[in-house]
Symmetry: C2
Subunit: 251 residues, 2 copies
């Protein structure tokens, strides 16, 4: 099979556009880069449409599955499509999973208010999936969950956890109507370790600089605080989410 | 005062070299970038030698302190010295704090085995400082704690916590001799939440891919595991460190 060698090739140009949120939103497709992640996408229920391979790479035999098109490209074309500095030479074009309509009747949820850093978002999705949460809600102003850096930071967890974008006031209201306790995070909150583990909960984490929107904090059942024993003002939001999720979940 | 406009200026060239670990090791200096971090460095006990300012920026009056030299530079020179994509126009040249000689007689410590990602290292230093740990030990093969991205990810916590580079086998041996219990982290470990909070402890976190070196895991008092309820194989190391540090510390 001949490798595509031109970055002007219309398919290459179309895939390159998937590096932008607008095009991911329009097409419901996203890019998955790197051998481990492509492997995870194939193992998960994600629909892989195309695997793009640099011509010098071998393809694992288990990747030769029906309905997945293989496209070989030159090193130059791969460098154009890859978002990492030292590309591994494998990128999958995947369909975004259909958004679940989360009802918040019971279960455990993570609600994200304007989280900006893709590494923090990826770490939180990974923790939420590992802890067995039912879903992660992205409020307006969060970075896109299908951003390449977010996807890579999840180490594949994004293929397994339900992600939904919705207004956080609506999400909090629904939780409260259904008796799912909502916990905000605030420097003025109660020490988290005094709260017992919960069968159902929604945990609300906020922007790296500004924290959770005050209007949301007023609507919660309780706001939590992680005690600081040093000079730091706060913790990294990904570390804080890990501490709170595993505490609220219990064993 | 005239702004330095040439990237060939010998002082600019010398400061630029501080982006490399070798030069930081040789000179015992490091760079602190951004207004908030420079402010934190001045507030902390860190020795600030020079503040480099882009000529269009105003300098806060409280920064005009004895022993700190101010150097103005053009936008082009600032772009050369800055490591961030949108520089704030302020960089401090600081002396590394003198390495404490940690004795491990009692207290709480974080031991890091070949942690590679600067964001993860920064997050862990920030959590360790926030939780009031006595020190963080960098084993061989870790990224440099004075790497610019690490420093920025600590949000200033690195100015307040003792950091020491040493052989981890030596550190573990000293802890055990002094009766400080050492906890490794391993997929074959015991569930962390069964362990009671500890007055003194050393927690050993390992490389993002390979985990803690098996030879070290054999020497610990106990190895801990964070239960996974989803499909993920593991957690982000910064999130995992947060969960374990706050659990072991207790209230």
């Amino acid at each position: 099979m001949e490798a595509i060698s031109s970055v002007q090739n219309p398919r290459i140009k179309a895939w390159k556009k998937l590096q932008k949120k607008r095009e991911r939103d329009r097409s419901d497709l996203f890019l998955v880069e790197g051998e481990h992640l492509v492997e995870e996408a194939l193992k998960a229920s994600v629909k892989v449409k195309v695997i793009i391979i640099r011509e010098d790479r071998d393809i694992p035999k288990r990747w030769l599955v029906e309905d997945v098109e293989l496209v070989y490209v030159t090193e130059r074309v791969m460098a154009e499509l890859a978002e990492t500095e030292t590309p591994q030479g494998m990128i999958a074009v995947c369909e975004k999973p259909a958004a679940e309509n989360i009802l918040f009747e019971s279960g455990r949820y993570l609600l994200l208010d304007r989280i900006q850093d893709p590494g923090n978002l990826g770490s939180m999705l990974r923790t939420a999936e590992a802890a067995g949460l039912e879903g992660v809600i992205f409020g307006e102003g969060c970075a896109d969950p299908f951003n390449g850096k977010v996807v890579r930071s999840t180490q594949g967890a994004i293929f397994y956890i339900d992600v939904q974008q919705m207004d956080l006031h609506d999400a909090v209201d629904r939780c409260r109507e259904n008796g799912v306790p909502v916990f905000g995070t605030s420097l003025n909150g109660s020490t988290f370790s005094a709260i017992e583990p919960q069968e159902s909960f929604a945990l609300l984490m906020g922007n790296e600089g500004a924290g959770v929107e005050p209007g949301l904090l007023e609507k919660t059942d309780q706001n939590l605080y992680i005690p600081i024993y040093g000079e730091a003002e706060s913790l990294n939001v990904g570390a804080a989410a890990g501490i709170l999720i595993y505490h609220l979940r219990g064993d």
